[in-house]
Symmetry: C2
Amino acid sequence: MFDQITIIGCGLIGSSIFKALKKKSSIKKIITFDNNKSAMEVIKKDNLSDKIVSSSAEAVKNSDLVLISTPSSSFGSVIKEIKESLKNGSILTDTLSVKKGFEVKLDEVNWIPSHPVAGTEKSGPTAGQENLFENRWTIITPSKNAKESDIKKVSLFWETMGSKVKIMSPDEHDKILSITSHLPHVIAYNIVKTVMGHDTKMQKDIIQYSAGGLRDFTRIAASEPTMWRDIFIDNSDLIIQAIDKFSKNLDEFKKVIADKDGKKLIEIFNKSKELRKSIIKAGQETDKPDFGRK
Amino acid sequence: MFDQITIIGCGLIGSSIFKALKKKSSIKKIITFDNNKSAMEVIKKDNLSDKIVSSSAEAVKNSDLVLISTPSSSFGSVIKEIKESLKNGSILTDTLSVKKGFEVKLDEVNWIPSHPVAGTEKSGPTAGQENLFENRWTIITPSKNAKESDIKKVSLFWETMGSKVKIMSPDEHDKILSITSHLPHVIAYNIVKTVMGHDTKMQKDIIQYSAGGLRDFTRIAASEPTMWRDIFIDNSDLIIQAIDKFSKNLDEFKKVIADKDGKKLIEIFNKSKELRKSIIKAGQETDKPDFGRK
């Protein structure tokens, strides 16, 4: 596939990619670099790079694929740093959660955008898991100018790590993710914000009795702040559309509860069960009670 | 503690109580009864009762404690059926998620209300888990007329199953649960409703890419419909108050996203992480990435 690749940005995703490739691919040399000093120390200590380098420009030299897995706000400066050092014909990819807007900036490099729809609430280079992409989807959103052979190489790259690959347009990607990922994160943050708006005694109670349902929401609300700031800013318009839909439905639902309309409630609940069943059937969720949580 | 007890209603909670008591208590005889025929078949098949009986009246004879774990809408009829057959001095308890309103109806029997704040999204007599109450809280909301010795017996009963016990007023209970449990369920149902309001193609995409966050919400939205219908009806007023607070916060949050106010977003996200940490520290959640889900 590739002889040498570079991973720039070694957080949850970057370190998971390193571990997955080491276990499952035949890539000879994987160079990992992170601008953050303490991340670089973990890279050394945990052997998350085949070579320790001191700059992103040095990191990309002779690499056939360069994967940038930083938050989008660092993206421009990374490109600037590495541009002159890229190997001729090398492919660039990324792991950003919002795709629109970036294609313009990156037309000058050989760039095949990808987004692995996988993660945990943990962050940083110690959070990596070699099986993170196993059975998850990676969405590739190539521009019109992208070479078919490059798209195939990037697809195979993700498939090697156990991922399934789907190709779509940036617009389609951002719309789908605004619903399956960005809206749930908005709602999780907002429910946490709402329960934390109580006095100290009540907060203590809320923590104690959180197993009644609340704790589920706190997981994705504990995700990496910088990454999520960038996502909310980059996909702001579509996220607001999703919030508006949610709010309209919530007003209707509130009326059903105020009216104590038992028949309508049962209808809503039965329909809700179906979505979970479909997600489990699609292999995207465990069927174990309570997520198999101990 | 008790020589003989009766469990009426053998769903997730009733069957978990049977299993927990069999493993952890010295109660000699536990009689389980359910009005539903197929539930009774599971009770026979899976040995979830020390004696097979054909009515709730028969089930409660000679029992020192009668626990009713049916949805609240069946509550009145169960009480009516068993009232004349109760052993003199026997204690009644329940597992209802809303406490206000029931004290009035039940003043004539020796009743100590309890609510184990534990569960999974599964339901029915096959869903029981012997460790369901381990390290969870059970809230007891005794009336003013309750005997101190009866309260102690019921507390010990839950503690035997590994639960921690807290005593409070029905009002306090219903307020806390409206926030820690009922609001999260409303929001989970509503997000599922919102994502399902799309066309067939989009629904397929939503299912495929649900690992981006959405799937977390579908768990509690798959809970037992009848039970949740009753909860939403019984605690309607407080739930609506909680929804109103949530909606007000969501409007504010939406403005922050529309303004692309990165600083404010980071503030919200950092604060959110704290709540999860507190819940984990309180022993009410796992610290494993992604709930330890496989």
